[in-house]
Amino acid sequence: MRRIPTSCLKFGPAVALLLCAATTPAATGDSQSPANGAWQSLRPQLYGTRDIGEGGDQLMSVEAPGSTPDPSATPVVVHFGAGLQGKVKAVRVIIDNNPSPLVATMDLAKGLPVEEIDLRVRIDRYTSVRAIAETGDGKLEMRSTWVNASGGCSAPPSATAGGVLGQIRFHPSPDARALQFSIRHPNNSGFQIDPRTGDPIPPHFVSHIRLSSGGQTLMEADTGISLSENPTLRIASSQPLKGPLTVEATDIPTQQHYTATWTAANGSR
């Protein structure tokens, strides 16, 4: 089980997990930790001793391909049943056996009837992937799934990489109930190798994403190195999403800001 250096805790647990884990690649090795290792240490930090519901796929489910075709870009889908739609205040996604287990913490606007949130993640080795939802009235629900994959955190930047840093591309569903957006960004994990020098590539990743409509925040997320290259999120609602929708992203450590707006009228731009 990985311990978080206490010197990092002054930044708060979320930042500590995103940053400190990223600077200790030696800790990833081939050591076999229990399947739910990270969760055992994260649970008291994030949720204390609060009850967490774990039963039934009707209320909530987490889906990922059991054997992922691409460990460096594995889709994870968090689905909310009717009993939770419009009630979820925050969602965390955790990959137990990743060097940086906390993938994202997403805060949702009050009453937003979210059916699904999709993320594309790196999977470092065989692991549980779990999502924990917190409702407006303080209840917690958790579901998890198992993924057989390895190498996603150290996988070299894909040969298909390229494009303009920070370019944002929108892909709405035809009925406008779902919107996927992707941000051109290497999201370097700190575990990859620079082809020119053979040296490790320093971490450089999208740390914050905000989705808003007419200035009003719909979703705000703290994200880390477990998101794939070209961080991609998809949000599906039980009602059509009303444009214009604006995505704003910030990265670490350069603190660059990227933004783009989608309106139904301008299609996928």
Binding site: A159, T160, G163, P172, P174, S182, I193, R196
Partner: protein, 309 residues
């Protein structure tokens, strides 16, 4: 299965290379044209026992020296290829040519180190090798000579850039090396032997095995169109049997890649997320090997390329 026990399992099947064998058994090769020797790789997955012998490898003999084209997925296979070469000729090995970066084609290079050849590859090969080095050492550890280290991965000292063909003279035999833009990978190279009109495509052509996309789908389709126009008498694909009709050998792969392009574009236009595209895009595959493992990965790669169109 944890990675360590997976490797232990591979080792138990005798895949692991120990100390270099003194006299390895020669790799079976056939002379597909005069002086043109090909070993046809086995039909196995990249993680199956024996996976270091899945790529087509071989050598071309001139009057002055010999060129090796790809070397297999381990020093062990490289030595067996060298033994096959030495059973046919005592001429020096002047070139070891790699058609691209993938592990099953390059890890045998080190077996030729003491022959002091030029190692030749695409101008992007060195970067791709460095990028892949740790991946090879972690995931194909048991295929290296013990102890595994990066020094066993040979770096090219002669490179070929797209648009700048390289001619190599083996003595009354000239090879034409062409580097291609991003296609199967970002460092694909073909070798044409004019004397016998033989084209070595590397993994720009898979025969009977699901083509694996690791570069650019659109780029690969464009390269296939150019390759199909070439007049050749013999074609050596990266995987699968040697053929004589290049356009016919390419056709099933072109149909598949085109269907992949259209299917994934359609899924993106319909607002289908990646995981749905993997289920929805199901082109015909006429019984190719490794379809279940490779096709979903191709969809994922294609999706990530085409969603930026």
């Amino acid at each position: 299965m944890p990675r360590a026990s997976w490797i232990a399992l591979l080792a138990s099947f005798g895949v692991a290379a120990g100390a270099p064998a003194a006299t390895p058994a020669p790799l079976p090769v056939s002379e597909v044209a005069a002086g043109e020797f090909v070993h046809t790789g086995r039909s196995l997955a990249l993680d199956a026992p024996g996976h270091d012998d899945i790529a087509n490898v071989g050598f071309i003999v001139g009057t002055r020296c010999v060129a090796v084209i790809d070397s297999g997925g381990s020093p062990r296979i490289g030595r067996a290829l060298r033994a096959a070469l030495r059973s046919r000729t005592q001429l020096p090995v002047c070139y070891v040519i790699n058609t691209h970066v993938h592990v099953d084609h390059v890890l045998g290079d080190v077996a030729f180190r003491d022959d002091h050849p030029h190692f030749v590859g695409h101008v992007g090969l060195a970067a791709a090798l460095i990028r892949s080095r740790d991946f090879f050492l972690q995931n194909y550890r048991a295929d290296f000579d013990s102890p595994p280290d990066a020094a066993q991965i040979m770096m090219p000292d002669r490179t070929v850039a797209p648009g700048h063909d390289l001619h190599l003279d083996l003595g009354q035999r000239e090879l034409l090396l062409q580097a291609w833009p991003r296609a199967h990978t970002d460092c694909d190279l073909t070798v044409f032997d004019a004397a016998t009109a033989t084209l070595w495509t590397g993994d720009l052509l898979f025969v009977g095995r699901t083509p694996a996309l690791d570069g650019s789908l659109k780029g690969w389709l464009a390269v296939d169109v150019q390759l199909a126009q070439r007049a050749v008498k013999h074609v050596v694909p990266g995987h699968g049997p040697v053929g004589s009709d290049l356009a016919a050998a390419l056709a099933p792969q072109q149909r598949y890649l085109q269907a992949l392009l259209e299917g994934v574009r359609g899924a993106i236009a319909a607002g289908k997320p990646l995981q749905e595209a993997s289920r929805a895009v199901q082109p015909a595959h006429i019984g190719w090997q490794l379809w279940d493992a490779t096709h979903p990965r191709n969809v994922a790669r294609a999706y990530q390329e085409l969603e930026w169109e």
